[in-house]
């Protein structure tokens, strides 16, 4: 009797084991793969840390929060207020940040040389309304402009925050042009400086708008010498040729921060992922698959980071080559392509247009100061500005040569030759933020234009 019972138990054990074995072989195989991928990830992370680069956003958050005088607080508050302050009926023209900004778009287009001079009759009323209805926001932003900035703060909804900052940039742009048109030159300069400084709250790779209105100020008003000097100093202080590189490295820290939480389920307070190996079961979210993709992205990120540390213009040349090389990277169907994300962010980081715009603006202010001292005469070339108005002529990040300058009967241009490397005389300038709707030719130069007979 006992022997029969033992026989049945053993038979059951054997049958169960035979059924379980294929499943366990599969699970164990995935666990081996997971372990190998995790070791690869560990090595990548160790390499990042060995270079002294961040793998979490924690230090950045701590830096932003632990400073009471951080301009970030006021930028955040003003941005949120601007979103909440879409005054009254948003369909009424001139009552939202966007519609207010749009009222001055013809002026911007005219100054860039892409449209004829618009009628400017009602801009004074628009400016008055703007100053009244957005008073609190301007007050916050202007005070923030005088404070140091320690980086983006933690928490909050990043997308709403960026939307708020966009509103601020539009409002400041409208205000600067409004003051310039009204002839209040020094107020226009103060507004332009506020506008230049608000960009600190945006990551360098996201500064795709021409947010400071130096061409408007110089074309439409006549600031004092002291105001021009302040503007030139602000431009020099905010110019950051390596901001994009740091931004790219910080963006990777953000990605990893998110990976710990979402992919590896490392929750605050518990530094180990969940113990049950559900992530080893075959699925699209299977951990070794995800880790493999993350390691691929991190390797691309490291290669891009190396390039991003090279000096201009090598950075741009090597960067565009690398992005092209990675353009055909494939990933598994239906999965996020981490390498494509890295390449996309990298391309944003090595874009030279914002740097060109900053430097060209700084040169234009120096030209303006030269005109003051020389009975409104334009300098024959940029060398005439050195050393009295400029310590040296800023370089074109696309060529490594000094930026170009050309005087015309009604305007002058300060420009880069653009991505095609050909000097087209600055006759057609690409906007700082080209979009699909722009009709500028791809080979256009890049820079700013100052009208000289409108003041």
């Amino acid at each position: 009797m006992q022997s029969s019972e033992t026989f049945r138990v053993r038979s059951w054990v054997k049958r169960s084991a035979m059924v379980a074995l294929p499943v366990l072989i599969l699970l164990c195989g995935v666990a081996v793969w997971d372990y190998i991928e995790t070791r690869r990830l560990t090595r990548e992370i160790a390499a990042i840390q060995a270079r002294g680069e961040p793998i979490t956003t924690g230090p950045m958050h701590a830096r932003a929060y632990n400073k009471a005088d951080n301009a970030e607080y006021r930028y955040s508050a003003a941005g949120i207020l601007s979103l909440a302050n879409e005054i009254g009926d948003p369909t009424v023209e001139g009552r939202t940040a966007m519609s207010t900004y749009a009222r001055f778009t013809p002026v911007r287009m005219w100054l860039s040389g892409s449209q004829p001079r618009p009628a400017l009759a009602d801009t004074g009323d628009v400016t008055k309304t703007l100053l009244t209805e957005w008073r609190d926001i301007f007050s916050l932003v202007d005070r923030a402009a005088e404070q140091p900035y320690y980086g983006i703060a933690a928490g909050g909804e990043y997308n709403y925050r960026v939307a708020g900052l966009w509103n601020l940039m539009r409002l400041l742009s409208a205000r600067t042009i409004g003051f310039s048109l009204a002839g209040d030159a020094d107020a226009a300069v103060r507004s332009a400086i506020s506008s230049i400084r608000v960009r600190r709250a945006l990551r360098p790779s996201q500064r795709s708008l021409s947010v400071h209105e130096v061409p408007a100020v110089l074309s439409l008003s006549k600031p004092s010498e002291a105001a021009l000097e302040r503007l030139q100093t602000a431009l020099a202080e905010e110019e950051n040729p390596d901001g994009g590189t740091q931004d790219f490295i910080d963006a990777r820290a953000g990605l990893l921060n998110d990976a710990w939480l979402r992919l590896y389920r490392v929750a605050p307070g518990t530094q180990l992922p969940a113990p049950f190996p559900g992530e080893l079961l075959p699925s699209r979210q299977m951990r070794p698959l995800v880790t493999h993709e993350l390691v691929r992205a991190l390797r691309a990120w490291s290669e891009f980071s190396e390039i991003a540390r090279k000096p201009w213009p090598e950075r741009y040349r090597l960067g565009t080559e690398a992005v092209t090389r990675y353009a055909d990277e494939k990933s598994l169907p239906g999965r996020v392509n981490g390498v494509a994300i890295a390449a996309g962010m990298f391309y944003q980081t090595i874009r030279p247009d914002v740097l060109v715009h900053d430097r060209a603006s700084r040169i234009a202010v120096a030209v303006e100061r030269y005109r003051r001292a020389h009975a409104e005469a334009l300098p024959a070339d940029l060398k005439a500005l050195v050393p009295q108005y400029l310590a040296s002529i800023p370089e074109d990040p696309l060529t490594g040569q000094p930026l170009r300058y050309r005087a015309m009967p009604d305007a002058y241009v300060v420009y880069s030759v653009g991505p095609d490397g050909t000097d087209d005389g600055g006759t057609t300038l690409r906007p700082t933020s080209p979009s699909a709707r722009d009709t500028f030719p791809a080979d256009a130069d890049m820079g700013i234009r100052v009208v000289i007979d409108e003041r």
């Binding site: 054990v13 560990t42 932003a64 921060n257 180990l272």
Partner: protein
């Protein structure tokens, strides 16, 4: 039917002998018949290897995935005054954010200005 008929009927039949192999089977080593332990041992070894590797991988991740969220939480507490009450509030805020992020699966940190533009278009 009387007793004689019964005896006669029984006399027609004789019990058959057991099958020839029955004795050998009955006397064979009972341990050799089911032989389940190699299967069970293999399954146990695989299970142990799976769990072991998983734990090792988790520990490796634990070593490289440090206190990101905690740092943010501490920074938030510092911004709110840095006292015990602020720390408690920051813990709640960070926890809620983590939970909401986990629920939604949306990566709002990676949302860029270009995304904003595309959304507007």
């Amino acid at each position: 039917m009387d007793d004689e008929k019964v005896h006669e009927l029984l006399g027609r039949y004789r019990p058959v002998r057991p099958p020839a192999g029955l004795r050998a089977r009955a006397l064979a080593d009972p341990m050799r018949v089911p032989r389940s332990w190699p299967w069970a041992a293999a399954a146990a070894a695989l299970l142990a290897a799976t769990v072991g590797l998983h734990v090792a991988a988790n520990r490796a991740i634990g070593r490289i995935a440090p206190p990101a969220a905690m740092a943010a939480e501490e920074a938030l507490a510092a911004a709110m005054g840095g006292d015990d009450e602020a720390r408690e509030a920051a813990q709640l805020i960070a926890g809620e954010k983590t939970f909401r992020a986990w629920l939604s699966g949306v990566d709002d940190q990676a949302w860029t200005i270009e995304d904003e533009l595309n959304a507007v278009k």
